[in-house]
Amino acid sequence: MLSERVRRLREQSITTRPYISAERAELLTDFYMNEPGIQSVPVTRALAFKYILENKAIYLGDGELIVGERGPAPKATPTYPELCCHTLEDLEVLSSREKTPFHVSEDVKRVFREKIIPFWNQKTMRERVFCAVSAQWKRAFDAGVFTEFMEQRAPGHAILDDKIYHKGLLALEEEIEDALRNLDYYNDDDAYWKEQELRAMVITLHALIEFAERYAREARRLAETEKNPQRKSELEMIGKVCSHVPALAPRTFWEALQMYWFVHVGVITELNVWDSFNPGRLDQHLYPFYKEDLETTVMTENFAKELLQCFWIKINNQPAPPKVEITEEQSGTYQDFSLINVGGITEDGVDAVNELSYVILDVIDEMRLIQPSTCIQLSAKNDQRFLRRALHIVKSGFGQPSIFNADVIQQEFLRMGKSVEDARAGGPSGCVTISAFGKESCILTGYMNWPKILEITLNDGIDPITGDLVGIRSGDPTQFTSFEQIMKAFRNQLKYFVDLKIKYNNIIERLYAKWMPAPFLSLLIDDCIQKGGDYHDGGPRYNSTYIQGVGMGTVTDSFAAIRYCVFDENSMTMQELLHSLARNFEECTRARQSLVDAPKYGNDEDYADSIARDVFDMYFDLVDGRPNTKGGEYRINLLPTTVHIYFGQTTGATPNGRRRGEPLSDGISPSQGADLNGPTAVIKSASKIDHVRTGGTLLNQKFLPHVLQSTAGIEKLAHLIRTYFALGGHHIQFNVVDAETLRKAQQNPEMYRDLIVRVAGYSDYFVDIGKELQDEIISRTAHGVV
């Protein structure tokens, strides 16, 4: 039962459509127009951060308990012209597009036209990135072989550990002063640059403290005139809370939540970091406060819940910053991937589930918002009651929480060289990729389209859609006499594209290190202070770079069909295959049927599944362990967000019978409709790749709601998940809606505004995701039995 306050704030958050605010862009422009340019880059950026926080509007909504907005009001979404300065055309597209629109007022357009665009032209990171890349890179990018995360948004993917609950920002300042005192200007060539980074951190932390103080003053001002005695005392308390945190460590549950929220707003104001920011393991961090406040009767359980609900609304108030073009195609969602973790194991390695874990699950259940995204970490050490509670939320069909294997995640961390303690304190961040919370810069750099690379392989390096040589010459496939030769040619193409991607990733990393330091974010992540290093420049303890593999099901089924039809059964020649692909199967119905009838991944049949493993191993060998420019390594993960739709559009007909333009398979899920042996077979197939050697995989399963209506149904689903995890699976998520409901929602979107579905690593409003993705979700196999 939601309180009247929460109901109202939630309603406001849901019904307010996202709109562009020019506030941040204008303040930033004002700052740089008057900036003499003599100071170092980090200090200048810190001063810009300070200027924004000093001058932005303060919004303290009626009834709010947790305060602070990134924009001037809920859903008012800023832009980051230093990274990507939207053109007037972009603004038109943003306001008129079918999915994830942002309203743009005439006033905002005027400010962009007169002030923001003229100033930022030729000064943005987007332009620097596209200036740095080669013609080969651009050809591959335009062909849809890979995407580039950093062309409109900054590297981020940072998740916080528990430090801000023990230390206020003033305590961090003391650590910075220590680091400054320890600088060795005689022997360390970088001492001055470290000094500049550290001074920038100090500027930003005071900027945030002063920003909080503005809220404290506003709360006290409102309290003076407030007639309602209850609200008056709340406002007085907000004033006290905001004068205490973030300067000092929180003492209560309320202060702890407000502490995090100010820090969150700071991070997403500084840059439009990918995967906004994330408190990580909220039930672990807040539990000591929760327990003490209940014991000392400072707070009731209901009030704790209300505070959490207000906090949930705050996250939902901040849509992902507006994206355009390919970046929008690959991640077309308002979801900004603040993924709250519940459960798992403690740093001592024991069951971490506590009473607050259940309270948070209640909050997820009652709030039913797309943001924050939520997950449970499930260890063999967690009991069934915990899993069942989570599944009762899954059952209700809103795609959350997703479920992660805490025990396999530990192995993944340890393989990558994390300490046991750091591994246990970490978990999935954003979508499905793991990160050592509070200690790692874990950067996703772009998706790699495996089926497109197969298409290029089958055309000897040419992209048949444009006729351009996009890859390398890898041989005429009609001359190949064995399946192994095709695999080898594919490997050569894959290597070429991985090398190309890594080369320019490394260059783009350097551009961000030089031009876009993030001193405020750096302050929060170990060991940036000790090293005097920025988050973007190797400051964190761990620095991982990911290239996300996409289309495993499609590429596996394609290889299996080639092997089966051309080499094993000889039901068609390579020429016939290539011909039918080139014709997009028009007038090739029989050829297509043979290809469709070939073995498919997802049925627990080794014929196809062993190919999935081979492709996985190939990708792993080409990527894993290669150095990035920050003292860390490249890693692999397998997830798509919404890119399997976009990549599908850029990829011609594939040998698994998929027609040109149709979506690719998502994550490590089987191709849409290819799995015919039920969920246990899917799980067996998906566990044949070695999840421990990834930083995350995504498995989507869709069930009709009636399957989970009974206790026995929930129990069976729990067994299915436990078995997948025993087999070493990393993550599983469920869509629990029937196709009929989805079709109705497609026809009458107004009637289904609140229908939330799991897309890929996140949940979204079904009516917001665009027709193609809607169709794709409808066509995902709806398993009738568990």
């Binding site: 246990t680 067996k684 067994h719 436990r722 025993a726």
Partner: protein, 192 residues
Amino acid sequence: MTESHVLEQIRRDTLFYDQSHGGVTFSGGEPLAQPEFLYRLLKVCKEHEIHTAVDTSGYAPQEYFQEIVNCTDLFLYDIKVASDEVHVRETGVSNRIILQNLKLLPPDKVIVRVPLIPGVNSSTEHLSELAKLISSYRVSQVTLLPYHRGGVEKAKRLFATESSVYTAPSPDIIQNALAILEDHGLNPQIGG
């Protein structure tokens, strides 16, 4: 198809059986229509410590039945109606063999399954008779399977006829049936 081929399919899911304390159910059609093959399969499952269930109408030659009973962990055993006359009318065969076979089963290894079909066995009289009959075999686990028309489309495709002549029971009929079975000391469940 050999038993080792079937066993290979069964063994793919052993981890799921372990997790859920499940196993393999031999169903049909009528698995006892192939008694020798069924027997060999049950035996290999036993060797591999896989829990087995046989879902049967019980209408099977007695000569194989005892051996099959010895290597099966659980029977899902259909008893449709107590009256032999109605049984003959509705199924075309007598229920005499079915009831004789039931005698061979240890009561704790049996779940009796009763399809609940209005106009056939849903009256209080029929159900009381049936409940008495089941109790006399000391079986207590009973599953009531309310008739549904979910197979109509499939029947149309298979036989190109509208083969269903029955209707689904109302909630009242189901409740009444449950009450009667409970009154006779049985432990009825719905569906499954």
